[in-house]
């Protein structure tokens, strides 16, 4: 069985996560072997997934952690242990 590019695109994410059934995976793989366009789409998608996961993408503002813990300290000191109040929120 041969599948078209358009159908292959539906499986690219599953292919990257290796969550396709063995039969579908095989079909996709065979298509990719001879289709340079779908291969380039797969490679670029994989590359983008890798870049997105990189910790350097999002920079924390300077002093973020300090400000956060200062605010938490304030809350903790003024209210004590959580769940001891009458209202939940």
């Amino acid at each position: 069985m041969v599948i078209e590019c358009k159908h292959v695109w539906n499986y690219l994410s599953g292919y990257l996560d290796d969550s396709l059934s063995p039969e579908t995976k095989e079909l996709v793989q065979r298509h990719l072997e001879h289709c340079e366009i779908c291969s380039a789409i797969l490679d670029s998608t994989r590359n983008i997934v890798v870049l997105t996961a990189d910790d350097r993408v999002f920079e924390l503002p300077i002093g973020y952690s300090e400000r956060l813990h200062a605010r938490l300290a304030q809350e903790i000191e003024s209210h004590g242990a959580p769940g001891r109040k009458d209202s939940g929120d």
């Binding site: 380039a40 998608t45 997934v49 870049l51 993408v57 999002f58 503002p61 956060l68 938490l72 959580p82």
Partner: protein
Amino acid sequence: MNVEPPDRDEAQMIAAILAGDTRQYHELVRPYERSVYKMALSFMKNEPDAEDVAQEAFLKAFRKLADFRGQAKFSTWLISITLNEARSRLRRRNTVPMESLDQATDEGGHISPALLRDWREVPSEALERKEIRAILIEAIGHLSPLYREVLLLRDVEEFSTEETAAALTISPGTVKVRLHRARMMMQKELAPKLKNANPRRRWFQWS
């Protein structure tokens, strides 16, 4: 973020905090500061609001800690609180309700990827460049909220499909469908931009 740092027993830390050793809360949340901020920034799209949402999420998690029963991981629970906080802020800010925006783009047609004939890998060193980081963040921001949250959890935080489903209270199947669409939209927007941003003659070429 989905992996509890080693040498930590979070259940035990939470029990201690609830028993009155509240200072341990600082240590409990330290590994998640970055993840919560990233989540908040992707929704709020500016640093001051993102920081505000992050702080509020950590405060809410503290106040509600007694409700956390260990049915999920602490990290998953914390992320859902962050998401709810970001969503409710946006809802208050927008005149158009979020739900209608979500529905408009939830189901629907096929997403055609950007067609290329070859792809030259963008090396991770490229992330040292501010413009590359900016176009990635921008592309995430262009996704509609339903897709953005799935992409953030699966591909930025590297949660499993099941953890993502739990944090968003949707089915694993829905996670997969939305992730697929989100990745295709990212490819469509980013591939042409990254291709142009890719320095071709950066390395010494052997011939």
